[in-house]
């Protein structure tokens, strides 16, 4: 249940803020950081539903299964695919994922195949009988939540947040919450006990115009009085506390990040690049912040390509490739490439069968990328779906893949690496107990 200690927390925070200036405190954090026990998870959410059928494509003999459904209007030619090998089979990455291919081949990246929300493993028959079918499949908003919740629908927390709940002890005395969203109040980052610090993608943090000048301080003070006003209205007070938290986070990060000389790695100037750049800056300040575990949420959108898939997807994956590879480079620059694991989530995969607008529609299970030095890369995990329309993996008649791996398993594998023990895992991912394989093995 919610554990409310806002006053205590704020006081504690202020103590810490003051303490950052003292050598003694820095000494403590340095000692902590010197253990090298730092790990971070970075969730890259692809809003709109990434067409993973065009992200990882079978090559060789199975290419025909692909190309006969995805004709030239919505399919990728075999000769432009970026070849990778998986357990003796040839696959091709989307031609824009050049850096992902390179990382894959270096063993630093992997993919988990046909993942989607499941309550427990079900068959196509069970699906048709509506047995244990997750609710509201194919709905953007619901499936975005389902991926972030990794739990029975309706739970108001995300698996990232619950992971943070389980790992709180690792960050005792930290200046910043374990969870940080660079993309709004994402459900992924909301725990049952803890909540995220929400930052923006750009470099300015905190209240606009709050520059410490006398005028600004008077304004801040007036604003603070409004926020602190005890209206007695639950809704208003809750909103005010959210604002207050934001102000506090802004102060902490401004304090820590002001004057840093930035990350040398050049990020692309898109939204995702800006968010990941911010994440890298915060990771860089991990010692001062006193954090040994961090969970980040970033996102990019535009993946709902009901029409004109090929052109749109090409642009999207160009940006994705550039952004997340720059982030990987930044982790090398910071010396944490083996401590930071980046992974994708998305609403759903798209229909394998295209529509009359050269687009694809909402489907279910899809492939996801995992990246980082701790990833047992160079191969993929899980089972590639049978691409037959109305085949054994199609729960519709357009190629809607029944997931063979659940979001729970996907998350549990990373949460275990992150440090969540087996007993805690069932708290973090309540449906994990329904799956026999609790660790997919893609983390070292």
């Amino acid at each position: 249940m919610d554990n409310f200690k806002p006053q205590i927390s704020r006081r504690a925070l202020l103590r810490r803020s003051i303490a950052t200036t003292s050598l003694g405190y820095l000494g403590v954090t340095d000692a902590l950081a010197q253990t090298g026990d730092y790990k971070a998870l970075v969730c890259v959410f692809l809003f709109g539903g990434n067409d993973s059928n065009n992200t990882i494509v079978p090559m060789g003999a199975k290419y025909n299964d692909y190309s006969k459904v995805r004709g030239p209007a919505t399919g990728l030619a075999q000769n432009v695919l970026l070849p990778i090998m998986d357990r003796g089979e040839g696959y091709g990455l989307h031609p824009q994922l050049t850096r992902i291919q390179a990382l894959y081949n270096q063993g630093k990246a992997s993919a988990v195949l046909n993942v989607g929300p499941l309550i427990r493993p079900i068959t196509k028959t069970q699906y048709n009988q509506r047995t244990a079918v997750p609710v509201n499949l194919y709905s953007h908003s619901d499936q975005q939540q389902a991926w972030q919740q990794a739990s029975t629908s309706g739970v108001r927390s995300g698996w990232g947040g619950r992971t943070a709940d389980a790992m709180q002890a690792a960050n005792t005395g930290a200046l910043l919450p374990m969870s940080v969203s660079a993309s709004g109040g994402a459900l992924f980052t909301i725990g049952q006990v803890t909540g995220p610090a929400i930052v923006n993608g750009g470099l300015g943090l905190g209240l606009s115009g709050s520059d410490g000048s006398p005028t600004a301080m008077a304004r801040d003070n007036a604003f603070q009085q409004v926020i602190n006003f005890q209206s007695g209205l639950t809704l208003v007070q809750a909103a005010n506390r959210t604002i207050n938290n934001g102000i506090q986070v802004g102060k902490v990060l401004n304090n820590v990040l002001t004057g840093d000389d930035g990350i040398a790695t050049v990020f692309p100037g898109n939204g995702l690049g800006n968010q990941l750049n911010q994440v890298a800056r915060i990771i860089r300040a991990r010692q001062t912040l006193g954090v040994s575990r961090q969970i980040f949420f970033v996102s990019t959108g535009g993946y709902d390509n009901h029409e004109g898939l090929l052109a749109a997807h090409q642009g999207l994956l160009t940006g994705l490739n550039a952004s997340i590879s720059a982030f990987y480079d930044a982790t090398i620059e910071l010396g944490v490439e083996n401590n930071v694991t980046t992974f994708t989530e998305s609403d759903f995969n798209r229909t394998f069968g295209p529509n009359s607008n050269n687009g694809t529609d909402h489907a279910w299970g899809g492939h996801h990328l995992v990246m980082g030095g701790a990833v047992a890369g160079g191969r993929m995990y899980g089972t590639f779906p049978n691409l037959a329309i109305q085949g054994p993996d199609d729960v519709g008649n357009r190629g809607l893949w029944l997931p063979s791996t659940s979001v729970e398993q996907y998350g549990a594998t990373m949460a275990s690496w992150f440090g969540v023990n087996s007993a805690q895992l069932d708290q973090v991912l309540p449906n994990l107990m329904n799956f026999s394989v609790r660790n997919l093995g893609f983390m070292k």
């Binding site: 806002p6 709109g48 953007h140 009901h306 008649n397």
Partner: protein
Amino acid sequence: MAKFVIAELDIHNSQTVIVSPTTATVSLDGTQQFTKTVTGATNTNVTWAVNGINGGNATVGTINTSGLYTPPAALPNPVSVIVRATSVANTTKFAEATVNLRHPTPTTTSVEPTDLNIGNVMLIVKGTKFYTGATILLQNSAVSTQFISSTELRAAVSLPNAQQYCVIVQNPAPAAANSSQRCFTVRAAIRVTTSPSTVTLRGGASRTFTASIANTNTTAVNWTVNGVVGGNATVGTITTAGNYTAPMNIAAVNGSVKVGATSQKDGNAKGESTVTLQNPVPTISSINPSVLPLGNANFTIVGNGFAPGATVNVGGSPMPATVNSLTSITVTGTTKPSPGGIAAITVANPAPGPTTSTPLIANIMPANPKVSYTAAKRFLEQASWGASPTEIFRVMQLGFDDWLTEQKNLADSTYTMPTPNGDIPVFDMQSEFFKNAMNARDQLRQRVAFALHKTFVVSAVEIDKTAGLVPYQRLLLRNALGSFRTLLKDITLDVAMGQYLDMVDNDKPNPAKGLFPNENYAREIMQLFTLGTTFLRADGSPLRDPNGVPYPSYMEADVLDLSHVFTGWTYPPGKGKGSNNHNNENYGMPMVAVESNHDTTMKKVLGRTIPAGLTTEQDLDAALQIIYEHPNVAPFLSLRLIQSMVTSNPSAAYLMRVNAAFNNNGQGQRGDLFAVVRAVLLDPEARAGDNPAVPNPFNAFAGHMREPVLSFMHILKGLEGTIVQDNPIESDLERMGQKVFYPPERLQLLLATHSRARQPRSLWA
């Protein structure tokens, strides 16, 4: 002149008398002892006489039997007397001595007055032994001296210089000596200066002046105003301590007065300050009547310091005023709606020293208001872009229901339609949005259209052509208070929506190519626009199976079949052109059907069958009707309208009451949006809170999370702001996370089912 008297010898008688001394000079204040020597006789006694008078007398002096001579009080004439001692034994025998009498030496004890300034003065010299005829010598020159007594002399003298003067008193001759000199200081003329020398004072104000006085020890002054000691009501009054109080009415004194201090010692010694007078600061103590009527108003302002020509301002606007007196102004004119139902009344005095009173805050009320100011304001925050004073008063006058009816009948605000040859920037459209929100009267319509747009999203993130966005916004405004069924068809056939959710050029299946109809609009019209994903009870809660799993409101098969229904539509043909298979991108009219692209097979939608063989539009109408009649529509739409307009967490009962209005507007009609909006706004739960003293009895989580646009506009309208061209509002709102017309792609801005921050998590557990 001394005479020497020699005792004659009686030669035939050897007896002799000798007196000693034989001459003496005696001051009148002195005595002289004579001694006699008688020889030749046994009896040596003598009788003493002065000028032949035995024992003398008061005129010549007296001498006793012992020979002690005491002079008279005044000099005799002549001033010498003869003292004779005559032998008793032989009265022929005697001796004489001459006594020369003189005035004694005077002494001075003081010169008065003591605190002297140059000029003429009656000097009073006090001392002793002054004799008639004594003369005062001033600076060694005799001055005309008045003998007052032996102890006081007076002389009127002129003392022209500031210096030390000395006096000596000289008794008339013969005299012993002059007095010693007695000196005193004469200072320059007394000078009085007042401070401050110039001062500006408002009518009624006070100021204390000080006088400094030089060259005298007598510092007392008389204070005057324009020469009148103590002043008076016209010129102002001044106390003996120099505290001046200006008159309230400064008109009579022509700009300034002189405050003077006159030496009480020297009436010619006078200092003056100039007081420039300004009109007083007017003060308002009350108005009568105390509550101003809205519109024609006639009232009296009571206070003080109202100068002729004073003007009156009520709620920021001047009103015609007549100054009756210093304490009364009559105002006649028209009052206007004002923020808070209150208006600041001020009185401004003209020059000199134009100044304005502290405002008196008065209530302005329409006659017989139907609802309170607070209630009207709160209502307008729900029903409009914000509670402008004008609209608040309109609501107070009309009451909620009549105001709604008035709003319904107002013309739609609009957006400029781009010409066929040139798009206009979305920014311009945003500017129009804000101007409409600020200025256009169809507030309810705009607010509902905005609420509808949050559900029926067409986002400029993807559709960035105003040629498409403008007709869509006009469509929402047009239908906002009309029929939901009509709205549903209009948005379905709108070109921008067709682009946004891919119904335009969505063709029937092509099995040869493995192509299916685009499912996007088919899914979203159900999920996002009308039904949501789960089957709803009338109270908006999900209907669940025995395992607690919500029943879905539609199945994938419904999406699939509906996607077939929505085939065959393309852009409207360009001017003068017929419809082709797929028309070129074109806006301004609804999409048109191309029958050859439409799938005419039978469809099953939401459990109902649409027969094969219908035209494109017949199919569409049939499907829309099925969706429209789904019981989810009422709770789905009602919740969104309530959340957008009134409260974030409505109670189930509230939702059910609004649902009922959707299902039946009172005349047996379903989907009357005006009736729904009316039910949303007039519901007891919506109105709870109109009286802030009464807690909302319906909902512990009452309250409304206002999105940035709304809170921004509420402030702007409440403060009667104005919007100018190229306003910065749009960029401000973008920073606040709500870029108008750019909701995040294909998502409603806020999920209606999203928990509205009842209890956010603690950041630092």
